[in-house]
């Protein structure tokens, strides 16, 4: 697996490239802005960007989508209707393939109704549902309960050593968040 995080200028959001070493196919998780560093990395590593995975439909995670779909022959996966003609809606349990790597979509609504996470062996992308020491902002107590319930059910049931890569801020692990996140303990 090839993996590289990028800190973007748009609201300090994160974007991630995950790729299969064998086939050189690459997945981009969120794209608040098509940063030159991302393009350079794809070029230098000779990766072929095939998929953009959108964790939720907010500008700081989708702002570079049009540039990405114009520059690369990609299809767009999201939990809603993001990405126009190249879009495909995915839901909890759906598989996402990147070369020989297989990921799985996890439902993590609350921050937005379309919020989804994506887990590969050892690594999970949580968008704005779960951060290091925090959770995503919600519009109502009911949304907050939905968010917390889904994190407990779909993220905290992963092994403790799985890495969490959120939409903003530093990485974490399932163990750190399960044992120390102030919103859960």
């Amino acid at each position: 697996m090839i993996f590289r995080p990028f800190l973007l200028n748009v609201n300090e959001s994160n974007a991630f490239v995950l790729a299969c070493e064998e086939t050189q196919e690459a997945l981009l998780v969120d794209i608040g802005h098509l940063d030159g560093h991302i393009e350079d990395f794809l070029h230098e590593q000779r990766l072929r960007l095939t998929t953009v995975f959108i964790t939720h439909d907010h500008y700081d995670h989708t702002g570079g989508l049009r540039s990405a779909t114009n520059h690369y022959d990609v299809h767009v996966l999201s939990g809603g209707a993001v990405g126009g003609a190249k879009a495909r809606k995915v839901a909890h349990g759906d598989e996402v393939r990147v070369g020989k790597l297989t990921g799985r979509v996890l439902a993590t609504p609350g921050h937005t109704n379309d919020s989804i996470s994506l887990v590969f062996p050892g690594i999970v992308f949580t968008g704005d549902a779960l951060f290091s020491g925090s959770i995503g902002g919600v519009s109502s107590p009911q949304s907050g309960k939905i968010e917390v319930d889904h994190i407990r059910r779909n993220i905290f049931t992963l092994p403790d050593d799985y890495e969490i890569h959120p939409g903003h801020g530093p990485a974490s692990t399932v163990g750190i968040e399960r044992h120390h996140n102030p919103f859960f303990v």
């Binding site: 090839i2 993996f3 290091s132 020491g133 990485a171 120390h180 996140n181 102030p182 303990v185």
Partner: protein, 201 residues
């Protein structure tokens, strides 16, 4: 031999073991034969993206080490000298860093959640955006460190020294800062539900 590394870690060769092999070895730390020889063989300047979970580097001279993106979860680094080390995006979750010296180290985006940094020194270090969730850091020293947007939620920093530290957007949510020194800090931090008893300002 293909090298085990972070995000491409190979399984430990020990039958039945589910851990990953260390970089430069075919075994995990637990099943490594000659640990002293392994540690001696490491080049601290060339540990980018290394897989070193659980290794014992206590008391080692790691000044200026380059461990960018390495995974040292659960590593033993008590008393280690990590001054000026490059630890950007390094995973040190659950590591033992008691009394370690990380002055002027670069820990941007480092993961120190659940680690023990009690009495460790981070003076002048770059701790921007670091994960310090649940970190134990009694009497740790962060004088003039940059903690911009760091996340010490639920951390124990009793009697820690943050004199002159940059704490803009630092999230001390529910942290225990009893007796800590925040004199001369710069920036507005989030102290939601933090214990600020006896804090010196």
């Amino acid at each position: 031999m293909t090298k085990s590394k972070h995000y491409a870690a190979l399984p430990c060769r020990k039958t039945g073991c589910t851990a990953h092999a260390l970089t430069e070895s075919e075994y995990c730390w637990e099943h490594l034969g000659d640990r002293d020889a392994f540690v001696a063989s490491l080049n601290p300047r060339d540990l980018v993206d290394a897989w070193l979970a659980g290794v014992d580097l206590s008391g080692r001279d790691l000044r200026g080490a380059n461990m960018v993106g390495a995974r040292l979860s659960g590593a033993k680094l008590a008393g280690a000298d990590l001054r000026n080390a490059d630890l950007r995006r390094t995973f040190l979750d659950g590591a033992d860093l008691r009394g370690a010296n990380l002055d002027e180290a670069n820990l941007e985006f480092a993961v120190l959640g659940g680690a023990d940094v009690s009495e460790a020194s981070f003076n002048g270090a770059n701790v921007q955006r670091a994960n310090l969730v649940g970190t134990r850091g009694r009497r740790a020293r962060f004088s003039k460190a940059n903690l911009y947007y760091a996340r010490p939620g639920n951390a124990d920093f009793q009697e820690a020294d943050f004199t002159g530290a940059h704490i803009e957007r630092t999230i001390f949510r529910r942290a225990n800062l009893a007796g800590a020194c925040l004199a001369g800090t710069v920036g507005a931090a989030n102290f939601e539900n933090a214990n600020l008893e006896g804090v010196k300002r």
